[in-house]
Symmetry: C2
Subunit: 186 residues, 2 copies
């Protein structure tokens, strides 16, 4: 079972080692999923995609145990249950600021190298007059061929459904308006 | 450079070792492609997909050398240049016959086992009162995760473009008919 909590395109500062930083638009999706078997395990799924590049996919599946590690490592003061809401608030802050000249909150995506399989870091960074403050860093994993394949199949199925609905909407609209037009001519 | 020669959904008799044969609809695409480098190599690409299963993909890339082997093996009397046209004629024969009660030409897709990576055979079989005559057998290879991923990305891009066009078509139709309707009311 999946439950989408957040699904928006955000401006991200992309930093790849050895290259100049550049700003790019990244689709950020947060989902909670509950795996039924073998354990009733709740996970927060973070997915980064690029609407202009079908092969771009980074994910993080964060379970309760992973969260405890993250909490200790980064000194978080919240628990697993409230983490998704806090993360959404931080992302919304970045979204609010992204069109400003000097945005206070910026999303950074950093890769140590440009190789296909290396992890990347997604960080939410606040800039105040004194310093850059990193509120949160999440390690995200590039999708394997299998994962990208599965994700694309899902997107394709969804778009096929939307396309069918749009086709039938066009038909209904056309015939309804034509009927009205004919009646008005009578 | 790709050039689509044939792109139709055909009824196929699916035979998997140890299972009953069953009829299913398979999307058959033939393309010629010319690779520029390192050699100016012309290939015929045969692609089998299933419009209801995004992960179903079988392909065959047939170059001139592969064709010579096929020609010797199956006693074909045509050359590489005329092979695509002949193949299309045979597929059209299957298509013509597929809704008949006892179709004379039937497309068979056989797999020796149900494992993910095993080759399959696509055969065009004529049934006459005396026997089953196999006109042609092509060995097709299941797509790897990478190949399926690339194929799905292509489908998605194409459908996204169609969807955009349909959206703008809906808009144009709606506003044009509404304008006519308003004018007729004046």
């Amino acid at each position: 079972m999946e439950n989408i909590l957040f699904d928006k395109v955000l401006s991200v500062l992309l930093k790849i080692d050895g290259q100049d930083s550049r700003s790019t638009a990244i689709h950020v999706t947060l989902e909670t999923s509950t795996s039924a078997a073998p354990l009733h395990r709740k996970e927060l799924l973070v997915r980064l995609t690029d609407d202009t590049d079908s092969f771009f996919l980074y994910t993080l599946a964060l379970g309760e145990d992973d969260f405890q590690f993250l909490k200790n490592q980064q000194g978080l003061l919240i628990d697993f249950g409230t983490f998704p809401q806090k993360l959404i608030e931080l992302l919304e802050l970045c979204l609010d600021q992204q069109n400003k000249e000097s945005p206070k909150f910026v999303l950074h995506l950093s890769k140590m190298d440009n190789s296909e399989h290396s992890l990347a870091e997604l960080a939410i960074v606040e800039t105040n007059p004194f310093k850059h403050l990193t509120h949160l860093t999440l390690k995200v994993k590039p999708g394997s061929d299998l994962e990208v394949k599965q994700f694309l199949a899902k997107c394709l199925k969804q778009l096929q459904e939307e396309h069918r609905q749009l086709q039938s909407h066009l038909q209904t609209t056309e015939s309804s308006l034509k009927r009205q037009l004919m009646q008005s001519h009578e």
